[in-house]
């Protein structure tokens, strides 16, 4: 099956991408680097899960994808605010 073969290649490629980003998480001189690398890992995971969904032809995984997307977004934004201002939920700064 041509499609399955493509999906497998894709999976392997994405795994390599994850390992690459993981390298950045390890090395990353500054904290934002690490955070960004982690964000990219999450995005790669999204890709992997989507490919898995196609590979296994089941629709169960879309929930996981969306939840992962939301939480990735949430995590990174919280991290960003934390790095920038040291406080995540500010009282009222207008």
């Amino acid at each position: 099956m041509m499609l399955d073969m493509v999906v497998d290649v894709g999976l392997i490629a994405l795994s390599i991408a994850v390992v690459l980003c993981f390298y950045r998480v390890m090395k990353g001189p500054s904290v934002p680097d690490r955070a960004l690398a982690l964000d990219t890992i999450t995005t790669n995971f999204l890709g992997i899960i989507l490919l898995m969904a196609i590979r296994l032809r089941s629709e169960l995984y879309f929930e996981v994808v969306l939840v992962l997307a939301i939480l990735g977004f949430l995590g990174t934004t919280a991290l960003a605010k934390f790095i920038a201002k040291g406080v995540i939920i500010d009282r009222d700064n207008n």
């Binding site: 929930e63 977004f73 605010k81 995540i88 939920i89 009222d92």
Partner: protein, 139 residues
């Protein structure tokens, strides 16, 4: 309006609705496909946290004037209520029953007491998480 980035605020407004719909969706079908009170609850809490991130406490307090602790209490009441409800029909405590109802538009809909129980769980989880987050946030 505040020092927070404008982009985040606009996105936050849209994202909030998407996440909320999705969490209700998850809650609703919990019985048959993956979903359920816990996950839905946390997702709704995540949605509100996005708001917290984008805007500040005062804004969110105005937007969501409810005190989260009441949510917890309501959730517990509902969960235990469904349990006790079972006993009224001389069933064992927390025994669930389910009926199939045919709504004109939606087709077969399954009404289960489990959903009420799940809804209770949902309320508790949302209330709990947000109480903690707002408590620490206000610190």
């Amino acid at each position: 309006m505040n020092q927070g980035s404008i982009i985040l605020q606009t996105i936050a407004r849209q994202a909030l609705y998407v996440i909320m719909i999705f969490s209700f969706f998850l809650l609703g079908r919990g019985h048959n496909e993956p979903g359920g009170g816990f996950i839905a609850g946390l997702l709704s809490a995540a949605a509100v946290v996005v708001l917290y991130l984008a805007f500040d406490l005062a804004f969110v307090k105005r937007a969501l004037p409810i005190d989260y602790k009441y949510l917890i209490a309501l959730g517990l009441l509902m969960a235990v209520g469904t349990g006790v409800g079972g006993m009224l029909f001389s069933e064992v405590f927390l025994n669930q029953s389910f009926r199939y109802v045919h709504l004109p538009f939606f087709g077969k809909l399954e009404l289960t007491t489990a959903f009420l129980f799940d809804f209770g769980v949902w309320l508790v989880v949302v209330g709990g998480t947000l109480t903690v987050i707002s408590a620490i946030g206000e610190e």
